[in-house]
Symmetry: C2
Subunit: 120 residues, 2 copies
């Protein structure tokens, strides 16, 4: 049964969804990400590669050190990895990890569950 419909939310549903997902993350003892880190991580996993520090900085509208530091933190969490680009050794290409994919998979499950439980 296909439902080729755009997803339309009422304001109360939109806020409730964000509320429930945020609560899940806050209550969770898991290490949580800042809004910027989340945006960076999602860009890396959802937008087509390759990803560079400069490209991410432009895409998010932030400075390069912000990206470098976020990658430091998320690298420690094993959510992303970095390698020098052999073709242009000035560049650093950011790659996904298994742990990062699992992290986002679990996160998507939370969003889906909360969306399904939303009052009509």
């Amino acid at each position: 049964m296909l439902r080729p419909m755009t997803i339309s939310l009422k304001p109360s549903q939109a806020l409730s969804l964000w509320h429930q997902v945020s609560l899940s993350e806050v209550r969770d003892t898991a290490p949580d990400l800042t809004m910027r880190q989340a945006a960076i991580l999602l860009t890396i996993y959802l937008d087509p590669p390759p990803h560079t520090v400069r490209g991410l900085a432009e895409h998010l509208g932030v400075t390069k050190p912000v990206i470098t530091r976020a990658l430091d933190t998320m690298g420690t969490m094993k959510l992303v990895t970095r390698h020098r680009d052999p073709r242009d050794r000035r560049n650093v290409v950011i790659a996904r990890t298994v742990e990062g994919a699992l992290y986002l998979e679990r996160f998507a499950d939370v969003i889906i569950a909360k969306a399904a439980a939303l009052p009509r």
Copy 2:
């Protein structure tokens, strides 16, 4: 035309929605909230009052100073106000503001727009 259906998202849609909304907030020059602050603000505006520091702390599973500090910050942003409870002057009741309502209204609009633009 009514659509009394539960909202069902595919994993890619769930992550894409969070991605797009996060990007909007990051790119915005507006002051953004931490995940905890957002959870507190949404609880205040979506759950029935009255709200106290202790109640919010229990609800989110964090310590009271976390709530006090978040209220300090969001109070400076005029998103919430605090008053002593005249019936029990140990309590502080947290109240909504016009600015806070507008902030969340605008936030809901972003979520709704991104949800509507989601690929099927």
